[in-house]
């Protein structure tokens, strides 16, 4: 005990508490409380650096950002007095903001839907094992190891919207195979260009969804599948009625993770389109507001909207997960 006590303040504070003679403090409730506090105080101390850092850099900064969003600090000389939700309302009066939100929605729907479908298909194809499975798995997941910036370099080339005679990427391929009707302007198309922009994102993340689903598929006990087969289920029926219902938590996780990445998409857009207005999304709009227009209050307002959009579905998800874990006795 003495060794531990001298080793550090944290241990001295009570890590060795239970071993000390207790007779002198069993008596009062206060003394028992002291014992209890001594048993958990060291662990709290051990986590306290992280609590401080997270408190300051996550919650403190979010608080600061919120205060900025509620102020009129649009230029360095402004005094930053409280203006309530003015900035939040004013944003909707600008042409650029609703367009950026619209782009983000199109991107998110196509990206989440596409990655989920392709990832699910890949998982399904690999589930029962197939020749070369490790090679396929490695290949489908590889884009995940690469940055959005690097992905953007090649996809900007692939989705080059230049006219057919100067086309470099997929358009050139379409022309070569006489599939001219497929030639298009990709992400530069108004309205649905963002659907094309989701293509590289799907390419990058459907392997991740595949891994989640594969883990899910293989987590379903074989006995369960066998039982359904014995009951006369076809192989597809087994998937439909036994396996798929078990995959709901996996699907939810995938939607949350892909969805939250999608809402804050920034690197990919910058790498492919730069700051062209046609591919504007909230994160890019915020970028130019903060670093080009230099309007901190407006930038903070956009950031707040992003935070709200993510929080709306991440917080219930976290609460649900923690509750489920606790009920499972973790």
């Amino acid at each position: 005990m003495s060794e531990a006590t001298t080793r550090s303040g944290a241990a001295a504070a009570g890590g060795t508490g239970p071993r000390r003679p207790r007779t002198d403090r069993r008596g009062s409730r206060g003394a028992r409380l002291v014992t209890r506090v001594r048993s958990w105080l060291p662990s709290l101390l051990l986590v306290s650096p992280s609590i401080l850092l997270i408190g300051l850099f996550v919650y403190g900064m979010i608080g600061w950002n919120t205060r900025l969003a509620l102020s009129d600090q649009h230029r360095p000389i402004d005094d930053g007095s409280f203006v309530g939700l003015d900035n939040f309302i004013a944003l909707w009066g600008e042409a650029r903001w609703p367009a950026a939100v619209n782009n983000a929605i199109v991107f998110t729907v196509v990206f989440v839907g596409g990655a989920l479908l392709l990832g699910w298909l890949l998982g399904l194809l690999l589930d029962k094992g197939i020749r070369g499975e490790p090679v396929f798995r490695t290949l489908f997941l590889a884009p995940m190891a690469v940055s959005f910036i690097a992905t953007g370099v090649v996809w900007r080339w692939l989705m080059n919207p230049a006219p057919a005679e100067r086309a470099t990427g997929l358009n050139a391929l379409f022309v070569h195979f006489n599939l001219d009707f497929l030639v298009n302007t990709w992400w530069t198309a108004p309205d649905f260009g963002m659907a094309a922009m989701a293509l590289p994102a799907i390419w990058q993340l459907s392997g991740y969804v595949m891994a989640l689903f594969l883990a899910g598929f293989r987590g379903v006990p074989e006995e369960l599948r066998e039982a359904a087969r014995v009951d006369g289920c076809s192989e597809w029926g087994v998937y439909r009625h036994v396996v798929m219902p078990q995959l709901r938590p996996v699907t939810l996780s995938a939607v949350i993770i892909i969805g939250h990445m999608s809402l804050k998409v920034f690197d990919l857009i910058i790498a492919i389109a730069g700051q062209q207005i046609v591919a504007d999304v909230p994160a890019v709009y915020m970028w130019s507001t903060v670093f080009e227009v230099r309007d901190p209050a407006k930038g903070a307002t956009i950031a707040s909207y992003l935070l709200i959009a993510v929080a709306v579905f991440v917080i219930p998800y976290l609460v649900w997960t923690m509750r489920k874990e606790r009920s499972e006795g973790r």
């Binding site: 662990s43 992280s50 950002n65 197939i130 490695t138 940055s147 391929l173 920034f266 956009i302 993510v310």
Partner: protein, 289 residues
């Protein structure tokens, strides 16, 4: 919540009951087509990288180089070398510090809880999902006003702090799988918090350290947002330099593509060599440790 779930992905596939040979062939064919789709950008990157400047044109876009050349790679290396070095110097400390903090946190959250530990843990986890835009302006203002801007420190700090949540999650789930009896035995022997950590927990932590270090390395290496507003030209990591190279109209395609490959090689190699640990980090993000 079974811990083995992520590993199953690595394990060879289950039985082939119910699948015919013909079905297998169809599945295989579909997979090959999909593999081609996944390989297409990689083909373009490598092939274009090996083209001499004059050949990197629209007309020869999809063809193999007539004359294989390394001039694109040499030029890309010259442009990216400082960024690659900055990335290494930034990623290593960030990964190590957040892994160590994550290990301590995970140990407490899994094995030595204090009242409110669950709440603290959930608050940590939310930090994993927040859009970094929501902390961007204050973070930059703090760094500027404290005079820390200019070097790599702000970036190291950001990656360390915002890496704590996922590191904590990975270690917590890992430690939760260590048999209770092992820790109870140490406690009965009178070992305190730190002694139990040093003698029981730390010696078995290597796999979790591998997962967190690789995860942190990869995400810090690939980050662009923090990198671009927390560093100046002197300390730009490789993603920012790559974007500058590729965003420029005058840089020919062979150099752009070669640069993208160079910037991705470290994380790709880690993924290929240590894929198992990379995967576990990936799966931890889904809270299914």
């Amino acid at each position: 919540m079974s811990r083995s779930a992520p590993d199953r992905v690595i394990a060879p596939g289950g039985g082939t009951a119910g699948t015919t040979r013909r079905g297998q062939a169809v599945k295989f064919a579909v997979l090959v087509v999909l593999a081609a789709f996944f390989l297409m950008p990689m083909y373009v990157l490598v092939v274009t990288g090996f083209k001499p400047f004059a050949e990197a044109t629209a007309a020869r876009a999809w063809l193999l180089p007539q004359a294989w050349s390394t001039e694109g790679w040499a030029a890309a290396w010259t442009a990216l070398a400082p960024g690659l070095w900055n990335s290494v110097r930034m990623v290593v400390p960030a990964a190590v510090i957040s892994a160590v903090l994550g290990s301590l946190n995970g140990y407490v959250m899994a094995r030595w809880r204090f009242p409110g530990a669950d709440t603290v843990f959930t608050l940590f986890l939310f930090g994993m999902f927040i859009p970094y835009q929501a902390v961007m302006i204050p973070l930059q203002q703090i760094m500027v006003s404290s005079g820390l801007m200019g070097g790599l420190f702000p970036l190291i700090l950001a990656h360390t702090v915002y890496g704590i949540p996922i590191c904590t999650l990975i270690f917590r789930n890992y430690y939760a799988s260590i048999p209770h009896t092992l820790i109870e035995a140490a406690r009965v022997d009178g070992a305190g918090l730190l002694r139990t950590y040093a003698h029981v927990i730390l010696p078995v932590s290597a796999p979790a350290f591998a997962v967190t270090l690789i995860w942190q390395f990869t995400s810090a290496w690939n980050d662009f947002l923090f990198a671009v507003f927390l560093t100046g030209p002197r300390s730009w990591p490789v993603t920012v330099q790559l974007n500058n190279v590729a965003g420029s109209m005058v840089v020919p395609y062979n150099q752009q593509m070669a640069a993208a490959v160079l910037a991705s090689l470290p994380t790709l190699l880690i993924y290929l060599l240590l894929g198992r640990y990379f995967m576990r980090g990936l799966m931890a993000g889904a809270l299914k440790g």
